[in-house]
Symmetry: D2
Subunit: 336 residues, 4 copies
């Protein structure tokens, strides 16, 4: 099969990783790279001397010999770039968050459908060994019915110029949450604060799901310590995912509660079970490489990715709701 | 000086600790113990063979030879017991949370004022070496102006029959927060869920303070792991208090951010400073003993405790606001 | 069945724990306590007002109404006290290390055999949930053939006046090692140093076992951090026991090596297997209570304890060998 | 100043790191690379398309336009390669351990002296921020007189075909120890075992220094967990260096002991001091880059590196002594 011809737009913080992994995939031929910053292009040329480069993204987005583009730029540019690419018949791999607004996302999804093109939103974490294992534990019922999802993603900086900590860090957790819970969220509450610049630099999101499932996300650019921890409680078992652990990222606790009687106010008797702890081995492959290989498969095979435009849209809708709630200091914002 | 004659009401989970520490204090004479449960009294008699015991709290609350009572019972009994004690001229040491409602708390405070008696609410953590050190670091300006306070107090159980996880666990954090921030909170937002019984078993509180200071409290009875961690961010330094650490409970990070320019959207430049980490030695004395000694001092010297009825009332008001917010799935509840 | 009548000699650091646990056992009646220090006796009387006390150990060791004695005194007194007790027909529970020399231990063992009395040496760790689980994992073959045992027991102080860090801390590890390896050691090498006083305050022991099994013990009174960690490597699995962990003391690693070829110097190919990690739940009961209950059972039922005089002697022989080796800066000392 | 022209021999595990860092240094021009394995050369060419490569090391070692060579090959090849390079007037940067024997090392040192050429042995750790900070803490007297050095370097694999775990892992610790203690060691004791192949796969080294300073090194290829921890005890302060920590690699404990009296056996009173803990910020630059820059400086400026041939020889002598001791199951081997 002839390789998918890919163009890359953006060679800032994440672009080099996307490019490096595309180069490593045999099913892919990297054709051209665009970045408005000549210094970025120069850096790219040092690593890939034969790569065609340009400061004009349109060259990549409209090139006739390109099948798909990877858009690795700030979120406020996604809509324009993706629309141009789709209009010129290119499949699109785009950084998270998908777009700056849900209406933009809806428009791109419709355009791609009309043109029969794929959109994949770079929800990289879905392709890590840890998230795959967590999804498997939930899908097979090992945890039992879910109770809650509680995630912390905090560290010192990097402050973004153009977005809040919610749009910068929470998309990771929202995409993971969307993927492993697999239910439609009902409402969002967000609280937080702005201390430097114009955007929130600390925020706490609560997402309500049907069946009394609760999700909470703690994002913070001003923490002295880096934390990447998610607790997931089920009625049968519970798990802790610490992404900073090298070897035992996911730990499953054979712990749970049973209501043994609840006749009156004083009769509630919750009994606890506390058993073994188990750290299943999780795949160690680079998630981005797995994801990009899957993107190429979807392009070649005409498959709909699990992290398609619709998944991207779901995350953007929650981000919009969080913004509304945050502005009103914690108002409940229903998701239709 | 003759010792303060103290009666104890309640010998359940915490009562034995209060009693043991009162016995250890020379300035105190433990005169009588009441508990409705004869088994509890029997247990007490094994340890303190000479202690007078009764199943009728009124005996303690009205005894003419008792100067002060320690009320170590469930929160819904505090008001009645404390009122009776005050009416009979006894100083009151009472478990946290102070009362079931702010109106009860206000009534007790007024009664004590009228009778010139002391009320102390058992906010034990204020007397730990860790909280004293944190207060000192804030008061001396070592942290710089505060940015946020973010606390997690989660573990498996113990479910309470009569109160939610908010009334059970959050009073600790609210009392500490009240003590170290020292400002009047403006509003509370609480989200959470109820999975077993009638009361919330997981909750997330945000408390807004003037000057853009934000507090967040995560309480959960359904966590597979025990966490007792508080992050406090200041403009100059930041600290992490991990109460489960044996030796280095409080760590101070010489880390911070400076806005070096903020002219336009793209001009915000936040620079980071990352220096040494320092774990100051903190006192290891038993906090409850220190606190009860201080109670005796306040009784003898006619001093107003820092954890007086007013401090207890401030915590109860936040708990009430949290309940209102929780019932409305995250409504902003202003604190007058 | 009538309870075993026990006398206790020694109420210093560990004596109160032995006494408290004996009191808690229904099969036991604590008859008398001896300690040369009147202050220690006074302290005991406050807790056990009805307990007969004496400053003369002989009173306990020779009392006609006492069936067994617990000797909880410094090691240099064990031989005299135990011999007197045995001569007067008492069963003996004695602190570790058993005696100051192997000849003393041999004499006591012979005397007890002649009089048909039990000796139990207080190797408390054998009765912890962790060591029971480790022994079970080895006995059932879960770890495969053993490769090594590597233990660290280090902290700041407490310096002993009368013994080295080897005699103070290593008996724990030697007793555990003896119990879980279950083979006769061949030789001991010890290195170390003396910086304060006359006895070694840091030492490293290597014990050679048949079949190329190697044990290593690191003991140190001058460490800024407390470590209680034992690694045990087997051909099938490996484990780490961290006794300072509250919840996951024993972790079993499904890791191992296989030699896939070894034809020439460059052909050795060791392949690694790395699978799940598993923290089995271990019993949380107080080991000393379990051990003392077992002592009473052995006395009543005429059973030979697993931690009998012979077990104590095996540890003393290794300590003697370690002393010889240490004095010669690391000479190999064979164990006959 | 014209750049130093460097040739590299060996592009296996570590060679790519050396090459990458040489390329990053402006004072250096990488002229040629040799590796007997064509696949390695092909890999190098993909990254450095313009680099001249050869399967014959002699081409690099004798090339007239090369000033210095980096020898990044197995230890048994060092002597031949380094000798040829020196004979052809090249300065030499060589992997640790320096040579397979002390006589080889002595010969190379003498040859370099005669030819006025530099030898640098790649003791990379000396150029880490952590070791620099530790050396500084010792040199400035902050720790007080040293008591001991205790290092663990254990993990699962990688088994080496041609050397034991002692020659593979201990050179790191021996080089660090040599650097920070700065005294001539007196004797070595090594114990250990061989379970797979022909070489020891677990070993424990004790090195005796004057003034009762003791060093201990624990190396193990069969550990289920990776440990990289060094404890250094001084009379004033103590430190723990955990190289696996990302942020707080070095912690200094204000802990110590004082002998307050030592008149008789029972009069020894050691008192403990326990104060703050402090994690100084350490440099985060890549050590290998710093070291290679220093190599170029030494070459250009005619300076003797601190990690010169003599430093390499000191490490090799301890390795030889350890081998002798290991073969004799722990004999004391004096260092002349």
């Amino acid at each position: 099969m002839s390789p998918v011809r890919v163009g890359v737009v953006g060679y800032g913080y994440w672009g080099p990783n996307v490019t490096r992994n595309l180069y490593a995939l045999e099913a892919c031929e990297v054709v051209m790279l665009a970045d408005r910053n000549p210094a970025a292009l120069q850096k790219a040329r040092r690593t890939y001397p034969s790569l065609a480069v340009t400061t004009d993204p349109a060259e990549v987005l409209t090139a006739p010999d390109i099948d798909a583009v990877a858009i690795v730029t700030p979120v406020w540019t996604h809509y324009e770039l993706a629309r141009t690419a789709l209009e010129h018949g290119k499949h699109v791999f785009v950084e998270k968050p998908f777009t700056s607004s849900s209406s933009q996302a809806e428009e791109l999804i419709e355009l791609a459908a009309r043109k029969n093109l794929r959109i994949m939103v770079d929800h990289t974490f879905l392709f890590t060994g840890a998230v795959k294992k967590i999804r498997e534990l939930i899908d097979t019922g090992a945890l039992g019915p879910l109770l809650y999802f509680d995630s912390s993603r905090i560290n010192l900086g990097l402050f973004q110029h153009d977005v809040s900590v919610v749009w910068d860090l929470a998309p990771h957790d929202l995409a993971i949450m969307d993927h492993v819970i697999g239910e439609k969220p009902q409402a969002v509450v967000a609280t937080g604060g702005t201390h430097f610049g114009k955007h929130a630099d600390i925020a706490f999101l609560t997402v309500y799901f049907p069946g009394n499932v609760l999700a909470h996300i703690n994002v913070n650019w001003m923490s002295p310590v880096k934390v990447r921890t998610t607790l997931i409680g089920g009625r049968e078992k519970m798990l802790v995912w610490n992404d900073l652990e090298v070897d035992e990222k996911v730990k499953v606790y054979d712990k749970g509660m049973t209501v043994t009687s609840a006749e009156g106010v004083y009769d509630l008797l919750v009994s606890y079970r506390s058993g073994d702890v188990w750290a299943p081995r999780v795949e160690q492959t680079e998630a981005l490489k797995v994801e990009l290989g899957y993107f190429l498969d979807c392009v070649t095979g005409g498959l709909t990715p699990l992290n398609d435009g619709a998944a991207g849209l779901r995350v953007v809708r929650m981000l919009e709701a969080a913004d509304l709630s945050l502005d009103a200091r914690g108002k409940v914002v229903p998701l239709s």
